[in-house]
């Protein structure tokens, strides 16, 4: 009865706004500005979770878990949050004269869940985060068909300087019922609204909007929802508080340790729990995806909910083969039925279907089977992901026929620590489609990737979305994505298994120079797995698969040794090799090196 009531509550909260609003007429493009808000948000909430004491993942037998500096930490989403190790500490604290405050989060604070807000076990946790990104960059830029910014624009490629400014103001409100000590909370309601402002300045028209008369600067803002869920603790299954919980609503989820396949905050229902002293953890989930606001990348609950379902089952088995290594096995099914109408983004670019090939509406089913792992073997840390994708595309955009999806993906990151230095290797391979005209689609495509790997958003290739100029209204690679998926966008687009795949080999090191200062470097070499799809779309033969060197460095400064003020400055450049040069150029030869600089300030209350 109680459960049913909760479900109803949730349904009202999450579904109604979407249904009530008419189909949004918004539209988008291969868009540089998208998704900053999303990423920053996740990064911060993850950071908070990581900082919480008593986190079960920090098994005493394990050294510090793999930590990918300068990047969004992985999100083992099934773990309970914010344990407070001392029961009744507010009363204890009162007795010893602890000062309370509603301003200072480090004092005992009613707004931070340190004391009950009412009753004996109802707590409130509020937080506010400001995430500011300033990002000058150079990205290959097309001169639009119908106009141009400059006269004597005689060729395909325009000037490529861009500047992105993105501000996310993220509030989070949690109402928690529970003991908040060792025992997981019984109930939580969380609402995290996000206000985003973004500004994109580019050198060419037709990029910020499909209408070239709209100029080369775009300002946009959006108020959206990052989290909106209720979490109900069903029962404990052991004296050690192994438990089962259900979480309903818009909630963050990461399908693996590093966000290779699906890391997003989406509308869903998730049953999760653990067994055997937390040695086994599991998730069973169903997500029905919300559409995003185009330029902020934040969930837009005023749009029609997407006809796209994700069914997930996974299990984590701690110390399965060896102590300190946690493999995760997962089956994920993505059922997409977005073949009923064309969908355009806020900037009036076609997003669904992908704007290339025969451009007919399509639907697909794909099942991912994955083995992911995180842990260490002796001194060597290892994180890995291996996925196979099997499914059916009911209208392959290059043949107009049905096609079988047969693709795979593997990524490994071994690392080893030498005192204050960590050295890392990065190896990634996503299969590419070998023949655009056969009935098999062999390119690996994710649902919503957000990889924390090989430098993540410090790296040029992963950070920047690069439009596939001359090959349709798709992007060669997405912002905050490592795959060369050839899809219209991560935010709105459908997965596309007709793609060239990607291979990455790289290495990097993190230097903890000061307690407050970390410096990270990465050097990656990138290749396409198979360029035949690129060749087909551009009708251009002999495109080399060599993309080039991606070289980056990042400094992270935390002046107070905490997460309340984090400043990060990173820079990356792409030294293009043969394959990239055949695809791209820039109008101004002085701009021949594509770079990306990221200045990021995160303030947290």
């Amino acid at each position: 009865m109680k459960l049913r009531l909760l479900f109803l509550l949730l349904a009202t909260a999450a579904f109604l706004p979407g249904l009530a609003a008419p189909a949004h007429a918004g539209k988008e493009q291969i868009n540089q500005a998208a998704n900053d808000g999303e990423e920053a948000l996740l990064s911060d909430s993850e950071a908070q979770r990581r900082a919480a004491p008593g986190r079960p993942a920090r098994d005493a037998r394990r050294p510090t878990p793999t930590d990918n500096p300068g990047a969004v930490p992985p999100a083992p989403p099934n773990l309970p949050r914010e344990f407070i190790p001392v029961p009744d500490r507010w009363r204890l604290a009162d007795a010893i004269g602890v000062v309370t405050s509603t301003i200072d989060p480090y004092k005992q604070n009613m707004l931070k869940g340190d004391r009950p807000i009412f009753g004996k076990d109802w707590f409130v946790n509020l937080s506010l985060i400001s995430d500011t990104v300033i990002e000058p960059r150079r990205v290959p830029t097309p001169v639009p068909f119908a106009s141009s910014q400059f006269n004597i624009a005689n060729d395909q490629f325009s000037r490529s300087n861009q500047l992105l400014i993105n501000e996310n103001l993220i509030g989070s409100f949690s109402l928690i019922k529970g003991n908040t000590a060792f025992k997981p909370p019984d109930f939580e309601l969380r609402i995290s609204p996000v206000f985003n402002y973004n500004r994109l300045e580019v050198d060419e028209v037709g990029l910020t909007d499909a209408n070239p008369a709209k100029g080369k600067v775009r300002n946009d803002s959006h108020l959206g929802i990052a989290e909106l869920f209720v979490d109900y603790h069903i029962h404990n299954v052991s004296e050690r508080y192994d438990f089962e919980s259900i979480r309903l609503g818009v909630q963050p989820f990461n399908a693996d340790f590093r966000g290779f396949l699906f890391q997003d905050s989406q509308l869903g229902a998730r049953l999760f729990g653990n067994r055997f002293n937390n040695k086994i953890q599991y998730n069973v989930a169903w997500f029905r995806r919300l559409d995003k606001d185009t330029n902020s990348g934040i969930n837009d609950i005023t749009r029609r909910v997407r006809d796209d379902d994700i069914f997930i089952a996974n299990v984590f088995l701690q110390d399965l083969f060896t102590l300190g290594y946690t493999p995760q096995f997962t089956v994920i099914h993505n059922r997409n039925r977005e073949n009923d109408r064309f969908f355009y983004d806020d900037n009036d670019f076609l997003q669904r279907p992908n704007s290339f090939g025969d451009e007919r509406l399509r639907k697909y089913n794909v099942t991912y089977i994955g083995w992911n792992g995180d842990g260490h073997f002796g001194r060597v840390n290892l994180t890995h992901s291996v996925y196979g994708a099997i499914g059916k595309d009911y209208n392959s955009n290059f043949t107009g026929r049905e096609a079988d999806i047969r693709a795979f993906f593997a990524a490994f990151e071994p690392s080893i620590d030498f005192d204050w230095i960590r050295v890392r290797g990065s190896f990634l391979y996503a299969s590419g489609d070998e023949d655009p005209l056969d009935d098999t689609e062999g390119g690996f495509s994710a649902i919503f990737e957000n990889p924390q790997f090989a430098g993540a958003d410090t790296s040029y290739w992963i950070r920047q979305g690069i439009p596939f100029i001359g090959g349709g209204g798709v992007a060669l690679t997405q912002r905050n994505g490592v795959l060369a998926e050839l899809r219209s966008s991560k935010e709105h687009g459908q997965s596309n298994f007709n793609n060239p795949g990607i291979a990455l080999i790289g290495g990097g090191a993190d230097f903890d120079i000061l307690p407050e200062l970390r410096f990270s470097t990465n050097v990656n070499y990138l290749m396409f797995a198979d360029t035949s799809n690129l060749e087909f779309l551009r009708n251009q033969g002999e495109i080399s698969n060599r993309i080039g060197w991606d070289i980056s460095g990042a400094a992270t400064y935390r002046p107070f040794n905490n997460q309340n003020i984090v400043f990060r400055l990173s820079g990356a450049m792409l030294l293009a090799d043969e394959g990239f040069k055949r695809l791209y150029s820039t109008e101004d030869e002085d701009q021949s090196i594509f770079y990306s600089v990221l200045g990021n300030l995160i303030l947290t209350y």
Binding site: K27, I152, A210, E535
Partner: protein, 694 residues
């Protein structure tokens, strides 16, 4: 698994890899043909094709009119089945009322005929069948097979059609080429085209089409041995239209009858439009094929009877004046004919006999109809402007061969296999629009012959300081003397004042435009000729040369059609009524100029990329036009051809100065373009931005 193989496997793999690398891309690929074998359709094959089509039409219960043409547009047979519709409706089904361009022009012509006291002058289905067949043949080559469905996809207000905010079709306006009034396209019958009684197909060379190129599914090319030998057109529903919704799979009777007819002469699968991507979008060829999992055909083409068994039984050959007639005689209809082999002088197209324009590759030229041994357009000096400024013969030749050089070295966009070189026609005209030089790569699609000339003349015309004055001086005898009541001078027969287009443009862009000597490329002209400005931005007002979108369609495009509408009407009345007066071989009723006394746009205007005005030290002296490959490739061949030719000559000949190019203009905040050269234009090279700074 890999480990087990050890060293032997690796060695074997290496050898296999080398083998694959050396044989992966055969050099003999047809997209790169430098010589086309003299293949043609025999009369018997024409009969077989018609019979296969008739059988399918009968099985579908859709009696049809069927036409077969050869690659250069000679009509080899027209057959109308018993019960097939005769009257043709022309409509895009967008409820655009009659009186707007060719939309429902049949009602206008029928009414006009009544006024004039002649029999119905409306168009008939045989004309549609011919136009479709010509389209299939003309748009295709051994590197690309395009159909009328392809044409439909690339001439609409968006590309793809109905894709919101997508710019217009890349070949926007190509439907008004190969016009019946063209001074360039030949007429089949000596009686209507000077005297050449020796040739049963009339004077050799590319023939005109009664309705221009067609965008109505049901026209496809015919192939033998991978080479285009002709085209097949089918009209069964009597509605000449376009396909606006391309996201579905049509079951089109016209198209499936054509598919059956073409059995045995099918386009090679690998060069069909659906394997050719333009801006990443693959083109449509046919929606359903007999090789599909569910064979859509209602008959088995292999079981078709002999033509003799159906001729006069299920229908009969029909004569079409000039197109398929004996002289001017259409009854009885002629017997089916052999086609001419492209590349043989009898087709009008043959190798450059003297090598004068083959400096950088084996060019094909148009042969002189009066002496097939000669190049009809051997490079010559211009007839103007005076004062020693006109292009010399050497300059014409140098510009031409430099353009062909760019084509031979460039990477084609619409040809398979990938990295085939660009195949186009190059036309150079003087300031009066007189052809100074014309040549083509060996396998360029035929349509580009006329279109390259249209582009050269269009760029020239609008760059002249008297462009606005010439438009204002439009004077159609059809409108002003034949019509009852007559239209005022300056209007066409549908009452559109031609000079008004320039006035609108002046209000839209700047008051001096078309009098101030701005250099207009056809790309620039095209951008103000679309139903939305900026191009493709749905909901914005139309460009000054276009029409308001609620009245716009590929049958009512604005200035381009309004200039030649009277000619087309004359021609249709001529065909239907047997009127003595055929439209002149001189499109538009603009002022007659130059030594030839032709209008400046004597084969019609063409508003898509590939044409540039030619200057000598700032003085306009001519135009160059390119057509046949992707529009960016056409642009590059013309742009670099003229630039490089000018540099080689060192005589002051070349492009307009930056300061007077149309990309200085930004009407309504959207800058126009002058040229757009393609990405990585040369096969195998890394070079990008080849037109930068030129």
């Amino acid at each position: 698994m890999r480990r087990r193989g050890g060293r032997t496997t690796w060695a074997a793999a290496l050898i296999a890899l080398c083998a694959v690398l050396s044989f992966a891309r055969p050099a003999s690929a047809q997209g790169n043909v430098t010589a086309v074998p003299p293949l043609f359709l025999s009369a018997a094959e024409v009969g077989q094709i018609i019979s296969q089509a008739v059988q399918e039409a009968q099985a579908r219960g859709r009696p049809a009119t069927i036409a077969v043409v050869d690659r250069v547009g000679n009509v080899l047979g027209v057959f109308r089945m018993n019960g097939a519709p005769v009257e043709l409706r022309i409509t895009t089904n967008r409820n655009i009322p009659a009186g707007n361009g060719l939309e429902q022009v049949e009602t206008v012509l029928a009414a006009l005929s009544t006024t004039l006291g002649v029999v119905n002058g409306a168009p008939t289905t045989d004309l549609s069948a011919i136009a479709k067949a010509v389209t299939g043949a003309y748009l295709s080559s051994s590197g690309n097979a395009f159909s009328t469905r392809t044409a439909s996809q690339i001439v609409q207000e968006n590309f793809n059609p109905l894709e919101f905010r997508a710019p217009g079709g890349p070949l926007f306006g190509v439907q008004f080429s190969q016009l019946p009034c063209s001074d360039f396209n030949r007429r089949a019958t000596a009686a209507f085209d000077g005297a050449d009684p020796a040739n049963p197909l009339g004077r050799p060379g590319p023939k005109r089409s009664p309705l221009g190129l067609s965008a109505d599914p049901g026209g496809i090319p015919l192939y033998k041995g991978g080479f285009v030998v002709g085209g097949l057109g089918v009209e069964s529903d009597g509605i000449y239209t376009i396909d606006r919704i391309i996201n579905d799979i049509d079951t089109s009777d016209d198209e499936l009858i054509a598919v059956a007819g073409a059995a045995g002469f099918d386009a090679p699968v690998d060069v069909r439009a659906n394997r050719i991507a333009v801006a990443g979008k693959t083109l449509r060829y046919i929606d359903r094929d007999r090789t599909d999992r569910n064979n859509p055909l209602a008959s088995n083409p292999a079981a078709a009877p002999a033509f003799a068994a159906i001729d006069g039984v299920l229908g009969g050959r029909v004569g079409v004046r000039d197109y398929f007639s004996t002289g001017a005689v259409i009854v009885p209809a002629p017997a089916l004919r052999d086609g001419t082999p492209y590349g043989d002088p009898t087709s009008g197209y043959a190798p450059d006999p003297t090598g004068e324009v083959s400096t950088f590759g084996p060019a094909i030229v148009l042969r002189d109809p009066t002496n097939l041994a000669n190049n009809a357009f051997t490079p010559r000096a211009g007839t103007g402007p005076p004062g020693g400024l006109a292009l010399t013969a050497n300059e014409s030749a140098t510009i031409l061969v430099n353009a062909l050089k760019v084509a031979f070295g460039g990477r084609a966009q619409i040809r398979r296999p990938q990295n085939s070189f660009i195949q186009v026609t190059v036309s150079v005209v003087d300031v009066n629009g007189v052809i100074l030089a014309m040549a083509r790569t060996p396998d360029a699609p035929i349509f580009g012959t006329d279109v390259s000339l249209q582009k050269a003349r269009t760029a020239l015309f609008f760059s002249r300081v008297d462009a606005a004055a010439q438009l204002a001086a439009f004077n159609s005898p059809v409108a002003s003397t034949v019509l009852v009541p007559p239209q005022p001078v300056g209007n066409n027969a549908l009452g559109v004042p031609i000079g008004f287009y320039a006035n609108i443009a002046q209000a839209f862009i700047q008051p001096s435009v078309f009098t101030d000597g701005t250099a207009w490329s056809t790309r620039g002209v095209g951008l103000i000729d679309r139903p939305f400005f900026p191009d493709g931005v749905d909901g914005e007002p139309h460009g000054p040369f276009s029409r308001p979108f609620q009245l716009w369609s590929p049958f009512n495009v604005g200035l381009q059609l309004d200039l030649v509408l009277d000619n087309i009407a004359q021609h249709l009345i001529f065909l239907r009524t047997g009127a003595a007066v055929e439209t002149p071989m001189n499109c538009t009723y603009l002022p007659l100029i130059g030594p030839l006394g032709i209008s400046q746009l004597a084969n019609g205007m063409q508003p898509f990329a590939g044409g540039f005005p030619i200057y000598r030290n700032g003085v306009l002296i001519g135009g160059i036009g390119i057509s046949g490959d992707g529009i960016d490739q056409d642009d590059m061949v013309g742009f670099l051809g003229l630039h490089n030719g000018g540099v080689a000559l060192g005589t002051g000949v070349g492009h307009a100065a930056f300061a007077i190019r149309d990309d200085q203009l930004s009407p309504r905040g959207a800058r126009l373009r002058y040229v757009n050269c393609p990405f990585q234009p040369n096969a195998g090279g890394n070079e990008q931005n080849v037109c930068r700074g030129k």
